[in-house]
């Protein structure tokens, strides 16, 4: 899919948002008209249902028009369509004559809309996962470039700030063994090799053949202007375990991968500038996206007598 196609799809998704807004407004302001047109004006249940569906449509509108990337949110409309088709199907089977014809027309219209929604949702949802995950983050560290480079080049330091790494063991100048905390408490282990090393400028590495999670990464170091230290830019690429599903699941748990890399960089800065990861009682492990969502109360961590 080209950039242009993608842009068009996002436009289509926005259009669906506006449609939701219009439909929701009508369902809330003139529910009786909607009930008549869809042939369910004889049912008292529909008196409640139609405004409720209207509220749901406004929700679709809010998420589609309120987000920067509306594509994935079209799935909420698809779910709504399924609900509507089910209740309309039920309505058709209980009606005769003119009402039945109106109900069937409404069903056909919803089916048509469902097709458009489904097309948009599937097409718009495809792009981000097409090439695995690529993550990046950048931070400025108030230390000289040679020192910052040197700390990173000793790969065994990485677990001090990359929270998902259990250990890195250097085998020789190029090769190292990495152990990471994987999903569901299972460790993932692989060998990596440095594929490029320009002192004080860039380090690039890649998992060796046979790694279960293929991944690669690079980090570059440049002087920050005006004696502000060193700008560090890191880029990681990997096929997430469990593919797209695994990534989506991790996202639900607050493990947004981009956030992880940003957290790692924040801890890196703390270690370089203050000597260690900064902890608080609310976040005893230090910077960690999950912990930010589920804070401990700001109270001392463990009981124990004071002398």
């Amino acid at each position: 899919m080209t950039e242009r196609d993608h842009h068009n799809l996002e436009g289509l998704a926005r259009g669906l948002g506006w449609a939701s807004l219009g439909l929701g407004a009508v369902q809330l302001s003139a529910p009786d008209m909607v009930r008549h047109m869809s042939g369910v004006d004889d049912s008292s249940l529909s008196r409640v249902m139609v405004p409720l569906v209207g509220v749901r449509e406004l929700f679709h509108a809010a998420v589609l028009l309120g987000s920067r990337r509306p594509g994935p949110w079209v799935w909420t409309r698809v779910a709504g369509d399924v609900m509507d088709l089910t209740s309309l199907g039920c309505a058709v089977s209980h009606r005769r004559g003119k009402r039945r014809r109106r109900t069937m027309t409404a069903t056909a219209a919803v089916a048509g809309i469902t097709a458009v929604d489904l097309y948009t949702a599937i097409r718009a949802g495809r792009r981000p996962w097409a090439y695995g995950l690529s993550l990046h983050a950048a931070i400025t560290v108030k230390r000289p470039r040679d020192e910052v480079y040197g700390f990173w080049r000793d790969l065994e330091n990485l677990p001090r700030f990359m929270i998902h790494l259990r250990s890195v063991q250097v085998i020789d100048q190029r090769r190292s063994r990495w152990i990471a905390k994987g999903p569901a408490g299972k460790d993932v282990e692989w060998d990596a090799q440095i594929v490029e090393d320009r002192p004080e400028e860039l380090i690039a590495w890649r998992s060796a053949a046979g790694a279960r999670v293929r991944n690669s990464g690079s980090v570059s170091f440049t002087d920050a202007p005006g004696g502000r230290g060193t700008e560090v830019r890191v880029e990681l690429r990997f096929d997430p375990p469990g593919g797209m599903l695994g990534a989506a699941f991790a996202r639900m748990l607050g493990e947004h991968p981009d956030q992880q890399v940003r957290d790692d960089m924040r801890r890196f800065k703390q270690v370089m500038e203050t000597g260690e990861v900064v902890r608080s009682e609310g976040s005893p492990e230090g910077v960690h996206a999950i912990r930010q969502l589920r804070q401990r109360p700001a109270q001392p961590v463990m009981s124990g007598g004071r002398p």
Binding site: K269, S280, S283, H288, P297, A298, Q299, G304
Partner: protein
């Protein structure tokens, strides 16, 4: 140990909690000898600061005696008396190296939360919500002080707690509020809010050579206090502040305006007050900026608006046209306390100022909840409560 905990909106409780322990090598544990309730604690109490959690220990203005130090702290030893600055600062990042301690780049482990609300994260603060770090505060018997080798100042034994305690927050905050006005001879300074921070801003403005200081509040006992420091006063429930300031300055407007009020300002007209109050309740506006709006409108052309009252998130109806067209400068900050400790301690020693003049009540730590109620409702002319564990 005993500690005053936030238990929900309008509810604090002194509870038994675990004693603090060292988490980082540059931590110190101190036994608190004096602590206070700050005006900004009322914003937490009243539920206006997001990301508070039930059980959070409150308080960010405190001092005490070192009982334990981490291996990274070499300048303090058990028995030292120290005052602790309320912003936590590492001393090593770019901000700290430029003296901007309250925007330390490393001291907030929950920087991600603050970034969502503010774009970038400021420093962590003791006892002041989880978006500012989730650090327990100082309304307690003991506290852990991170970066104890950078922030705290040692206090010689001959100065009593009450003279130096406010170095922790309100004195330097008021001082910096006046400093940001860049006072030159002849300047007229207007100060919104005659609470403790406002009182120190008034005193500091005079120490920096202001010609006149005008204090604006609605509680006559606070205005009387300001008068004793040499300020002229306006009760905004009795007079139209903009008109009065125009008259008092012969049409110029004050050369600089200090907002020492922040997010819970009041307005004498019920309609105006109700407008922002309703939006706050509906959560479409976090802060009610009556004092700030008035300060901008009142300031002379080309003057400075100095904001030291606490703001949390978003304000509506900001008079941007007045600000831009009239060439105003606005400055704001949580105080870079570390910067001012030494010079202000010297001033206290020299007798230029005795900060204990703001104290109105002394209580035991166990009575903290009553202190919050009194302070909130301005009972018994409450201005500043000092607590001792």
């Amino acid at each position: 140990m005993r500690a005053n905990c936030w238990m929900g909106k309008n509810k604090v409780q002194v509870r038994n909690v675990p004693d603090p322990k060292i988490l980082n090598s540059r931590d110190a544990i101190i036994r608190i000898t004096s602590t206070t309730i700050c005006g900004s604690d009322l914003h937490l109490f009243n539920g206006f600061i997001p990301t508070m959690k039930k059980g959070d220990i409150m308080g960010h203005e405190f001092m005490g005696e070192v009982v334990e130090t981490g291996p990274g702290v070499t300048n303090l030893r058990p028995g030292d008396r120290i005052v602790v600055p309320f912003p936590i600062a590492c001393g090593a990042c770019n901000a700290c190296q430029h003296g901007q301690f309250s925007v330390c780049e490393n001291s907030n482990p929950n920087a991600g939360l603050a970034e969502k609300i503010m774009g970038h994260s400021p420093a962590g603060i003791f006892g002041y919500s989880h978006m500012l770090g989730g650090f327990p505060g100082g309304q307690a018997e003991y506290a852990r002080v991170p970066f104890a080798d950078v922030g705290p100042i040692k206090i010689p034994d001959d100065l009593p707690d009450e003279k130096v305690l406010f170095l922790s927050d309100v004195f330097p905050t008021g001082w910096m509020g006046a400093e940001m006005c860049e006072i030159t001879p002849g300047d007229v300074i207007a100060v919104w809010g005659a609470g403790p921070v406002g009182q120190f801003a008034i005193a500091s403005a005079f120490l920096m050579g202001a010609e006149r200081v005008i204090a604006i509040d609605r509680f006559s006992y606070r205005l009387r206090k300001a008068e004793r420091a040499g300020a002229e006063t306006l009760n905004y429930e009795d007079v139209d502040v903009l008109d009065a300031l125009r008259d008092m300055t012969a049409g110029r407007g004050p050369d600089a305006c200090i907002d020492a009020v922040g997010i819970e300002a009041h307005h004498p007209a019920p309609m105006m007050y109700g407008y922002d109050r309703a939006k706050q309740m509906a959560r479409v506006e976090t802060d009610r900026p009556f004092a700030l709006r008035e300060a901008v409108m009142a300031c002379r052309n080309g003057g400075v608006v100095s904001v030291i009252g606490v703001y949390a998130g978003m304000v509506d109806k900001f008079p941007m046209g007045s600000f831009m067209n009239r060439s105003l400068t606005m400055r704001g900050a949580q105080c870079h306390v570390q910067r001012y400790l030494r010079p202000l301690l010297d001033r206290i020693r020299a007798g230029d100022i005795d900060p204990s003049f703001v104290i109105s009540h002394r209580m035991r730590l166990d009575d903290t909840p009553r202190g919050y109620d009194m302070f909130k409702h301005k009972e018994d002319e409450c201005l500043k409560v000092v607590l001792t564990p």
